[in-house]
Subunit: 259 residues, 2 copies
């Protein structure tokens, strides 16, 4: 028995999210079906966490146990030959038997991408949230920085989500401008349900002048979902990376982010 | 009555090409439906030419006559509010009554994009042709240059296409490498059916060592479709720009191509 770790990229446009469900195709189901064909046995894939319908991943991580004799590093090649183009395995490797894609994770990096121009874009429309109204980019940059730190983020969670604690640590949070593309990049030890999309919606409100950056500490302190911005659309969100070593999170974040 | 010119960007993935047809949704139909809603009259849209199912456009051009009082430059805004995200009008302007998107065109620029890496990409898979086998890039660059000039391109046309002449002038033809992305950029006074995709397929054969760049003049001279490469998949092809002034083609091509 081996424990195999997969690093997975997907275009979420065509899927009802990561997690397997009845009556809708998901990324997990596509992967499990390919794995079962390959291994000739039932395979249960454990992801680092769910992503919602339409959310993308550059570096989702999952693991599974198998008695297959396929060398660990060949799973990426074998799976890619069976998978559709919108799901790719960028790496496969053998890991310790106690590695668990969800419980071993020490942090995650997300990106939320906004296109701020008049007419939008037909090429790549699935991979961003288009806003045609003018945005105050400097105010959004200032506001993004306020999310850094350890806070109770209850105001930035979809109401009714069942969790033990709503305290999370954000290691890095910044808004990067590249022409008319804005990328909100946020790295933390964990994220509540819809947290990044609500943060992005709040930054958009700041950009529109509805909220000022200086109000964000109050909004966080209020623990009131209604005080934060709307949940920004799924299409702009990418799970960029999942970390399994706390040192790696910090090392990585010491470098400038290169898209 | 006014004559309005539209500059159109579209993601061809979800359409059965440009040209209106029975039993399949096309870009032309989506646009005509939006125009008829807007103008309250029957509208016939004339495109610069067809694009096949799955082929994209950054700068398709079309024109239509209307008695609508909507200012010409506002059509882009009004249409974009009615159109799906995968079709965008980047410009609308009034042109002379004798402007005809097809017959007035003096040239076109196409791009064919290839991703040459091991596992492909899930993000943006619709916008390229993935090749995992190694390619001789320098040979492909050399071969791309050979297409420049005025030749009978019968060998680079889908067999059975009804045309008066198969002679075309290619003003510029080059392969640009950007990391593991290869962009074949070709500008000419006109293109035969499937010509760019057959040129791209031939360049791929050169990259794979099946054809040498020095054989291309012979292949052109043969006028034999079987001697050229396969028709490369639609997903890599973009209609980049349509020219209506010969001077503009040459001016534009004097500058380096910036994607």
């Amino acid at each position: 028995m081996k424990n195999i770790k997969l690093t997975i990229e997907y275009d979420g446009s065509g899927y009802a999210g990561w997690q397997r469900q009845e009556n809708a195709m998901t990324v997990q189901q596509k992967l499990e079906e390919a794995l079962e064909r390959l291994c000739g046995e039932h395979v249960k894939l454990v992801g680092s966490g769910r992503t919602d319908s339409g959310v993308h991943a550059k570096g989702q991580v999952a693991n599974f146990y198998t008695s297959s004799t396929i060398p660990a590093d060949r799973f990426s090649y074998a799976l890619n030959s069976l998978l559709p183009y919108d799901i790719r395995i960028n790496q496969s490797e053998e890991v310790a038997m106690d590695f668990h894609a969800r419980f071993s994770a020490t942090g995650k990096k997300y990106r939320y991408s906004i296109l701020n121009n008049i007419h939008g874009t037909a090429i790549g429309w699935q991979y961003l949230h288009h806003i045609s109204l003018p945005l105050d980019i400097q105010a959004m940059k200032d506001a993004a920085g306020v999310f850094k730190g350890t806070y109770d983020y209850a105001a930035f969670m979809a109401t009714g989500s069942p969790v033990h604690s709503t305290v999370r640590t954000i290691y890095k949070s910044e808004l990067i401008q590249n022409g008319n593309l804005l990328h909100f990049i946020v790295t933390g030890n964990g994220f509540l349900y819809n947290m990044v999309r609500i943060m992005a919606g709040t930054l958009i409100d700041v950009g529109r002048g509805k909220i000022s950056a200086s109000e964000i500490p109050d909004i966080i302190a209020s623990r009131d979902r209604k005080r934060a911005g709307a949940t920004a659309p799924a299409s702009g969100l990418f799970l960029e990376e999942v970390y399994y070593d706390k040192k790696l999170v910090i090392q990585n974040e010491a470098n400038d982010y290169d898209l």
